[in-house]
Symmetry: D2
Subunit: 471 residues, 4 copies
């Protein structure tokens, strides 16, 4: 399960045009958002005359070097971290996407996924337009530039937003004008902070914390923000849609220290643990998390259930993105390289094992087996999310429907498959309760198969209707 991206935008009006601070601020902000994408990163800074970029494959500290950042002067900029799956020419898909057009330069950093990208692309190609990358972002760039020739920036952006279906948290530079946009359903996160007398827009508030800034608020659904002359101007896309915030940001993706749409992720996760304890109690001696993502929920479960919290599994902090396996096939050693059982905390014990979610079930199976080998008498698996029964079309690279274990099996079947003594999933209502946001303002697509936007091939219209009434 992989997040697609993280975005950043910085406007530091007080910065001397020759100052390099915005480039460094973007660098630190991207560092704080590294968990949202580890395959490539880029940043673009505009100095009033022209835009300059640094991009590359790899982690933030691998791509940028001090001298390059120092030379990247200017007082506005945007940045991006990205996860990707493709091969050699990846570098071409690395963002920000910078395009030149009649009026100047547009740079775009995008987190999200357009459901109607293909349709829009076909339409643009029918006009004889060409595509050099295979990202949705180039579609947005084409649409935006078409409008900019005829309309004001604000009208152009509004017009483009009316065409886009899906999730998009965007930071945009139109020449040296920084703009931030969040889709009307506010699916992916985006927030605003005050940093050193300027503004920072970022996918998560941890970026603001890292720069010692102050979180002002989340960007509203359908909001368009302009940053000029040290001021922030807010415009709103007129739409009657309710928000549909992605629940997996709370369950898994976002850093626990981020506040997303007003909710501290840490608190949500602890509450998930508490609700899970209430919904699925078990007679046991100890509560243990699958590290790291299950830790906070396990603490919550432990407190609610009054069962001692002990770390039964230890993670190898140095495990990289890659390691060599003796044969081609995935083997148990891969799991043991990543985590190790602490026998004393497991041996002879009845254990409640807390994981954030189960996608394919294969890793869960290996972990349960490792715990049994360490001597556990019973293993009660508890999952901090409802069963994932449908794919995500809105920005998460989960799996196909066929690969989703909960789409193909009963809970009893999954229990057997992973080898647990019992298995309990959080209920949808329990999840909503833990998040603390109105159910009608959450995207529960992967948990219900009903999406907040029309998606071809899914029972879309009806579901969209149903969503507007009730999940």
């Amino acid at each position: 399960m992989e997040e697609e991206c993280g975005v950043v935008g910085v406007a530091l009006p007080g910065a001397e045009p020759q100052s390099s601070s915005p480039a460094f601020q973007i660098y630190y902000a991207l560092y704080a958002l590294q968990h949202r994408g580890q395959e490539s990163t880029g940043l673009t800074v505009h100095n009033g005359y022209s835009a300059h970029s640094i991009k590359g494959m790899g982690l933030v500290p691998e791509v940028y070097v001090r001298e390059d950042l120092k030379n990247l002067t200017g007082n506005v900029g945007i940045g991006h971290v990205r996860y990707s799956t493709s091969g050699d020419s990846d570098i071409e898909n690395c963002q920000p996407l910078v395009v030149n057009f009649k009026g100047g330069t547009v740079a775009i950093a995008h987190n999200g996924n357009l459901v109607n990208a293909k349709e829009l692309r076909d339409e643009l190609e029918s006009e004889g337009r060409i595509f050099i990358t295979n990202s949705d972002t180039e579609v947005i760039a084409h649409l935006l530039v078409k409008q900019l020739l005829k309309h004001s920036i604000l009208d152009s952006i509004r017009s483009v937003m009316h065409r886009l279906v899906g999730s998009y948290s965007l930071t945009i530079l139109i020449d040296n004008q920084l703009i931030a946009v969040r889709d009307p359903l506010a699916i992916k996160p985006l927030c605003i902070g005050e940093v050193e007398g300027g503004y920072l827009v970022a996918s998560e508030s941890v970026a603001i914390d890292t720069l010692n800034g102050r979180l002002l608020r989340d960007v509203y659904p359908g909001e368009i923000l302009f940053f000029r002359d040290g001021e922030m101007e807010s415009y709103q896309l007129d739409t009657d849609k309710r928000a549909a915030h992605c629940v997996f940001e709370y369950i898994y993706f976002a850093r626990p220290d981020s506040i997303i749409d007003g909710k501290l992720v840490y608190n949500v996760r602890e509450k998930i643990g508490r609700v899970l304890a209430a919904e699925h109690p078990a007679n046991s001696d100890t509560v243990s998390p699958v590290p790291d993502s299950g830790i906070t929920s396990a603490i919550g479960y432990s407190k609610e259930a009054g069962i001692e919290y002990r770390e039964g599994l230890m993670k190898n902090r140095y495990i990289g993105r890659t390691f060599i396996l003796p044969g081609q096939e995935m083997r148990d050693i891969a799991v043991r390289l990543k985590m190790n059982a602490i026998s004393d905390n497991i041996d002879g014990k009845r254990l409640i094992l807390i994981d954030d979610s189960i996608v394919r079930g294969t890793t869960s199976k290996r972990i349960v087996s490792m715990i049994r080998n360490a001597g556990a008498r019973e293993v009660h698996a508890r999952v901090g999310s409802p069963p994932i029964i449908a794919p995500c079309y809105l920005g998460i690279d989960m799996a196909t429907r066929e690969q989703l274990v909960a789409s193909q099996n009963t809970i009893e079947g999954i229990k057997e498959m992973i080898g647990a003594d019992s298995l309990g999933y959080l209920s949808i209502d329990g999840l909503v309760d833990a998040i603390g946001i109105d159910k009608n303002e959450l995207c529960l697509g992967c948990l219900t198969g009903r999406y907040p936007v029309e998606i071809c091939g899914e029972e879309c219209c009806a579901q969209l209707q149903s969503r507007l009434s009730d999940y």
Copy 2:
């Protein structure tokens, strides 16, 4: 003085779709054309279903690895080597440029320079089109795709050619259809060879030699070649223009073992030496070249003048593209790292020193000084080209007019500046004679200031007229 590019195209109909030969053929061909561009290289192969590329910064052997080439199956492909000046985001300008459009995929490799690129770009931008690279090639791609939506491939290419002003030797893949195009003035070279039962199009015939192929002929001015089903089809752009072959390919750029527009470069250079000997004799003991580019002409001069040829300067074969200088400023050590005087062949001698051309004069000055330090009694500089008095707008990165020493000084002045006892430049007629092509079919722009195409800022129309009558 830097060449912009080299291009290659391969159609190997007999190749199994799964064969990797075309990828390897392009690789070897690019290796043979490495002198035309050392900054980046790329190749694109189409397997009947889709196009796949490998691109990278650096020399041919640095960019490609065996496994990647092996996996690049398909029986048509194009390749490119490129010299460039820009910075970090260079990789985006690396060719072939591959674009997706309504009908499929277009990949383009381009050697040359469009004089009206900006104008065309403005026009395309006025239509709301966007540009991701800053290469002329993207302009060509836009124009081509616009036509392809409405017209046949042949008509589309004809139509685009009517819009382009400047030099362009192109290899193009439209899906798996290989096309080669040379501009109506045939400014930059392009030739066709038969290789292993298929066809190879390349900037220079050495690429064909390397693959043990047979040079068929040069691509004609304004010719459009289609390669399908093992056949080559030729179409002609109707134009009344005469050719204007770049003379600097003969003087400096091309490899001596290439045959360009019917003339073996080696022979031209030897003849240049002979003509130079006739035009500018000197009482002297020995004839020496500035290695490597002056060697062949020096041999010719020696034979014609009956003066002994001896190597007075030796080149460091291992000198790379970069070396560290103690201070920031360019120093004598840079010249001495590159070449060294052989005192025995110089000391006490009256020396005729043959160089291919003089651009700024600074290197010549250092070389003459090195030779005097080695004990030369007299240094008679002889230059295998006429004075360069105007910049090139058609594909060579020479220098600005202000930097051209012959644009700012008399020959006497240049002689003083470089410290020679005498200085003789080849005459324009001598050059034409050595090349052996009708003066009216050569581009002499940098030598006369009169160009074969209209160039804004130059006295263009009149000159174009004058060219059509007489240089």
Copy 3:
């Protein structure tokens, strides 16, 4: 504070001489020990005829590639991970150190530090011997080879051990004979496991777990182990010394899932928290760790004190070894890049902050300040170790005496300096109690200034005496 090294040894008698398993086993074992050294790594395998090595700067997954490991056949081998401080020629200090001598080849991997290395080196140099590296290991190699010319392997090793003063956990290959050695004080850890029908010796038991092996026991103080023909033979250096196990392995270095000298590190750390709660209670609302090293102790404190455990600081999991700071000086941003405060868990709260130790105090100061900025009403710092008042000479790169904040200040002074409302250190007896090993069998040098071996410049003899009686 940096660990020096981790070592591994593998003997897999059943392995075909052409098998590559031992090389892969060492690879995985080193991966599991990566926390003990991240600067360089190496491994050496002997195939019965000759020894072959792979070494390099960087992390385990960066240095080794599959093909190289596959080609490294043989059924015995040793490996090493290393932390180092020196510059360009580091690679020469990378272990295993492989030397050729009259009888064959010796390869050595060493964790520890010799107190009398200089003295031994001087003695060896007086004999005309030369040193190519600046590691203690080369000293050991010289001493060993001198003996091997005259004595059996066992006698040679015994003889060398009588000369070495300090800490040394060694894995050694003498030709294809694997030997493991632990110094008589057993200062640094070393344990033995059974893996796939062979033996694995490693600095920590997690390496054995990773290979799905079974921990047999720790190597005894002064024990010499031979592995041949699938058997393990144990020999003992005759010495009346008691053990002096390093307490900082428990406090900080070792992985929590390792069992060292019979004690599970996780349990020791939890117990440290419990003892700390008893020794230094505080009225407060929440207990929070400095992640990651304070987590387990904080859980223990929380349970003992009955005060809620909440994570107040979140670590950036992607923080690398390096990041760019805007200026040269260390700044607050460095701390914020590494960790971030979770305001909800801090704001308005009286907080007990658990850290594993305080070395210089500068990081503690920044963390306390970060917590106060996040709104903490009170910050009660509790430290899971006694004050560090003296340097370590036995294998840990801590700091000079002058840099140790507890060597220069009272506890009250340190409290003021770091800005805490109260400060409590674990007592030495509390630490001993938590570890559960006889005080006389621990090295408490950095906490008492009295070391288990004579150290020049320290009040050594007396202290050594006092140790032998009582700390």
Copy 4:
């Protein structure tokens, strides 16, 4: 055929201790000697207190970066370029070899090969000494350090020289004392120059030219040079041996612009061509070299024979050390990538083809075939050296005796094998004549099988005698 090494030494007494000039001078000198070794390079500078090194695998411009050179202050230093054949741990064999010993530091850069290295190594190992590298240089270091404990530097070096059998041109730093040594037979070159008020010792005089210095003279056979306080002191090993300069330096290795033992290499090569023309005339239309090594001799042949010189083969200047071949086997494409026939200069012609030497004959065969394919009517191969019938034990990696085509075949047989119409080798007397040095002062080992030193397995003693009387 590969040269082993090039060495450099710099003493710049006027340099401020903090000056970085010597490091840069060594860098430029190594650049000029790059042809003597392309696999690794290193340099060591002593600042009066300690020695610091930079070493690495690769070419000179790849290994050194400006900042590192700048930081390498000191007014004496040595450097090395090296060709090597071994694998992963190559870096350990990279020179200068720097060792610490009782009295200080010794750094050694070595060009040559010791014939009795194994014997000396065995002797040293018998004393219990250990070897970390597998280079002869470590043997020299051991011997030298043993002496330095008891004797003066000069006596120590003399004593070591009495032990060494073979070729050695050495630059040595004993602490900050620079010493240069050449073996009594002066097999490999070494010369002295004056550079910027200091001294430069280098394998070839081109290094001195590059630094704009003045060649003073060659180092004498058995000479020991000390450089201190801006003075050069010369000492002589008392030996009645005559010199035995390597003839292959003149034939192939050295740069043509170098003066070695008083003879300009360029002149020797031209003279070789002239002698070859006299010894092996042929009716033909043109004389062509195998580039680059045959060029100068071909010019000489052409002049002597009065037959026109034309370049029939063109070398690809960009050919790197590696390129990808489609299959595993060496193929014709490898030759065509490296060089290409110029048909106009070959077609229908009777051609004299000049190569510097023939080792295995396989490349010659491919070249002759390429020339025939280009239309040559006759190919008369002429070789600028006598047949190589025996291996070199004194510093050149040629081939085994079995691989040497002239060791296994008659000249007629070789002619058939390479496919030439006639084949003529330079005679030994012709070679001696061209070099201009007394036959008794040259090493002709590879041409006669009789070596100037005893070599085990060769008919050594008798040959050594015969050498002392007459070849």
